[in-house]
Symmetry: D2
Subunit: 343 residues, 4 copies
């Protein structure tokens, strides 16, 4: 079975990673590769690591160019995908790596993005309770944000099992710079980021906050509120998420561990590490894996969960391909690597 | 006024940083430079950045070699400094960069370090309430740990002003690798640390936890308990601390901001940045500055404070020199730079 | 066709990379995984990025454990492989990632390694003239060093075509730290290597010098002598080689370009980039590709060639797997990726 | 003696480093701080590491704002400084960190820069033969480029002593990204530069080539031609220069060593390291030192010299301040640190 796939936003980091994965996908045939200002350029000049596709020419991101494929990946600035998706056939699988269709609550969307809500699509994080089923046969998929992917994988088992208090969650995450995209901004220059760390979007304003709360609340069956602080780390790829929550009275370390291990026992791409081994982002560079570890701190009455993903792979393009595979009934792991590239 | 200073542990990172600062101190004359296994070596082979001292020969770390100076810096593995200090004259200013004399509670020491408590010395963080006075004329000074320095600077104003709940503090900190010292361990190899992040000591077991709680509890006038997670970042120097606490009912953003700004209004080395500017570790590399910013997140009911220091300067050697200056009645900033080396 | 493969030295970087590639090889079945001091450990604790193999247990590096496989990879300290290889069946394909069997000249071996010469094996760089044929059906293969791989790919076309002077070659190469191995040495600590560069082995003493000269001389049909300076760069993977040579009288830019393009026109893993595009090591991280560019500097009368490889992939394990594929008659690219992992 | 100093281009890296050094200069009083598009901004928002100057406001780069100071530093795009300098009083010391006045040969200027030559000024590299004398009392100084500084320090002693062939010089240098400035360009993003190396300006076209040849030719007393290849390294600061030349017949290792050691015996900021110790850029970060080492490779008939500087300090702002000190008769090392900030 050969699937024809078009990829938009191909000059950016998310689009490049989608192409990297599709180039190794046994069932995918890469059709149109589109961009905006870079239309007309060789891909090799923009994504020089994609050797097998170096001589492909980017075309304009238009409905005409994207139409006629089995699958269309949209890696566009938010606000741009709804309009394009509306003009693509309902039989085409449209996978949006942007934010437009992630939030179910129009009010939350409008508060954090300041524009009308475009509606919500099935959410491409199959490891959340009940989500894999919703992705089977879906024709529209919203790819989660990278911080929500790691945060939801970190904390969902505890909330789904009723072990955690809903109003005392703190998440601090460190992301590689590719998460900020390829637009040249002074604070993202190598001279600025190498050798240092800094926070950003502190105090509740980060757009991933409502997305994380949406997922945790669904798992908990009650409103969960979080404090989320992202930081920028001197690395190109990877997210390390440190997530903590107060545990409910009577919950002990064994119950916590059992909840997480049970939740992910059959997952191909999420792993609770053996006790005593802590995750490191380099375990998962270029891979679709998420590695977790947790500890119960009785002194603080908290569980601390560390989760690592590659923000471009499991956090964006890998999760997108995994969701595509599920939607189309392919092997869920097709085109995805289990092994990270390390050291 | 010329002060003769001996420096032990001179082949390590803390000792090297003390020497770097003393080489630029207008009143200090560097006497004995001592080491353990590296005694007999040229300093230039071990600390090749200390050009002015390159031809100095390291001698053994013995009481004989350290005695006879006005000031003795001890940068030794914990457990080693108490015995040496006991044999140095009571008139000698002994500044211990190690952990031995930081904790006032013998039970906390024994729980976290597993050895008998050596007693506590005046704590070299002059910005804490009442501490500068205790350092004046002191002959024994315990240099704070690097994580406690940034964590206490981050949260003390809020506790001292009675604005924060004592039992819901979460601190996540990212440190450069120099904080782990110069002993060659596989997980600290460049190949392992470049391009990745990882947590360690998760779940309450880190030895800096009781030290941070000690300082916050003293400021609060009640027992403060924290959840503390350190992470290792791919940079040589710097700590970014993200510290959050629940605010007491009725406390608003203005009250929070006022508490921090008032606390540090007259401090030469601690700065609350203008609103909207967030700290970055590269602001303070090689400098004795601590830069802070805070935000009130009404959604989570929390204050989030970001603090950056250079772990080797304000976090170790700079704090030590600052404390020495206070103890001896010198200009508090002598030998210390305000400017970081950036980019 | 399923090939059983044993991998020795599996706790090091070369062994880990062999395993990473074999885990994705369609025809390989990973048998014994061996180590020396780490025998008995879980692979997941030593190579935590190899998720699919995490629960495999390392066994001792003995002939007994390695025997009985179709292929044996030796990633051992130099001096160790000859003895083991001698005891393995002549029908077993033995691929030595170490130096023991690279040099054909016993005198050169003894001068640079200070031990008796173990003999030479077919040299696993199929892109050199005539080498692919020698690898077909071979049962013993010596994997080239990483610096020789990039240096020989950079300059061989010019020497093979008779365009370059043999006595005025200068090569300066920058390598990532994984090339120095996983043994914990102080100068390889992250604190030391991050943010800086340094040379080593300057002045002709580096053991890769005779290996590079051997290959270039064979291509030139006369003795080529080089000046080779390796430097250590703050990155985990990759080699950037800058290689220059004087061009013979009458040779022009077009002749130079034609020689390189012709030499690699049919190569699956070596690419001369389009004019004006220069290679960067990040193009090839995790990939078996070598990317080249050249320029003629008429002012200096020199050709300058830039070549990039991933030292662990094309420079070691990828070249080894490529050679294995050729020796066994498999698809030359099986298990190897064309795409780098970037950014 | 208090010197009033104005600094233009203060929002860039060169201007920022000048300010950092002047902030610690015992005789300098920082007057106007000027910029182009950032005029009107707080310095603290643009150079957040310059804590002592954080509240200073940048003014426009105009003759009016720069006039009336004893010293004016110009850190402007090339082409901009000649016009401004012409309008400043002949009694004002004008120090140009840009390229405009470095080359003595108008034809070379026009070939590499494509604009009319503005004339040449005394060249601010006091370690070159006869240069310190020319700087004493000078009122116009051209600050050398960063690559020329390290390349000329590396090779001048051999040419001045007549030990080297003039037509076979190869220089390969690795620079930190701050050398490329603060303008946001995609290839300088942290995501692009971290973890990789790349060459640029290959084949004789780099503008520093004629500047290096000018200095070497002056020392040699004959025309020296070089092959120069710069590369971009994943670090913010520092240059590692590998420079090699053929030695004249009859020259041996002792003669080479003696030439270099004699040349720099009395220099305060250049050091030939003890035999066997090789330079590393981290030795000199933030410092005005240049550290060198050399080796004679009899096999290739070449001397190889490694030189390290901080491109922003000795390579730009430090060299500028050192030259200012000489010109004004101040202590040559005032405001300059000998010690690097390491690790």
């Amino acid at each position: 079975m050969t699937i024809s796939v078009a990829v938009s936003g191909a000059s950016g980091y998310a689009g490049g990673e989608v192409l990297r994965l599709l180039a190794g996908h046994p069932d995918a045939e890469i059709g149109a590769i589109t961009a905006h200002s870079n239309a007309g350029s060789r891909l090799g000049g923009l994504q020089p690591h994609l050797h097998a596709l170096a001589d492909r020419i980017l075309v304009d991101t238009t409905v005409e160019n994207l139409a006629g494929h089995d699958v269309v990946f949209l890696a566009l600035p938010h606000g741009a995908s709804a309009e394009i998706a509306a003009q693509l056939s309902a039989d085409t699988l449209v996978i949006d790596a942007g934010a437009d269709h992630r939030l179910t609550d129009p009010a939350a969307w409008e508060k954090f993005y300041g524009s009308p809500h475009a509606g919500s699509w099935p959410y491409g994080l199959p490891e959340l309770p009940g989500h894999r089923e919703k992705l089977r046969g879906a024709k529209r998929i919203a790819v989660p944000g990278c911080y929500p992917t790691s945060s939801l994988l970190a904390l969902t088992p505890g909330f789904a099992a009723g072990l955690l208090e809903p109003d005392d969650v703190v998440i601090v995450a460190a992301s590689g710079t590719s998460g900020a995209g390829k637009a040249a901004k002074p604070h993202l220059l190598g001279s600025e980021v190498m050798g240092g760390m800094s926070p950003y979007g502190v105090g509740g304003g980060h757009r991933h906050t409502p997305e994380i709360e949406q997922g945790l609340s669904a798992a908990a069956g009650e409103q969960v509120s979080i404090s989320f602080t992202p930081t920028l780390a001197p690395m190109a790829r990877g997210i390390l998420t440190t997530a903590t929550a107060k545990v409910r009275p009577g919950v002990d370390a064994a119950a916590l561990r059992a909840a997480w291990e049970t939740a992910y026992a059959d997952e191909p791409f999420v792993r609770v590490l053996p006790e005593g081994q802590w995750p490191a982002t380099k375990m998962v560079v270029g891979s679709n894996y998420a590695a977790l570890q947790l500890a119960y701190d009785p002194h603080a009455g908290r569980v601390i969960v560390s989760a690592v993903i590659d923000n471009l792979t499991k956090g964006t393009a890998g999760g997108a391909v995994q969701s595509m595979n599920i939607a189309l009934g392919l092997d869920e792991g097709a085109g995805l690597t289990l092994q990270g590239v390390a050291p």
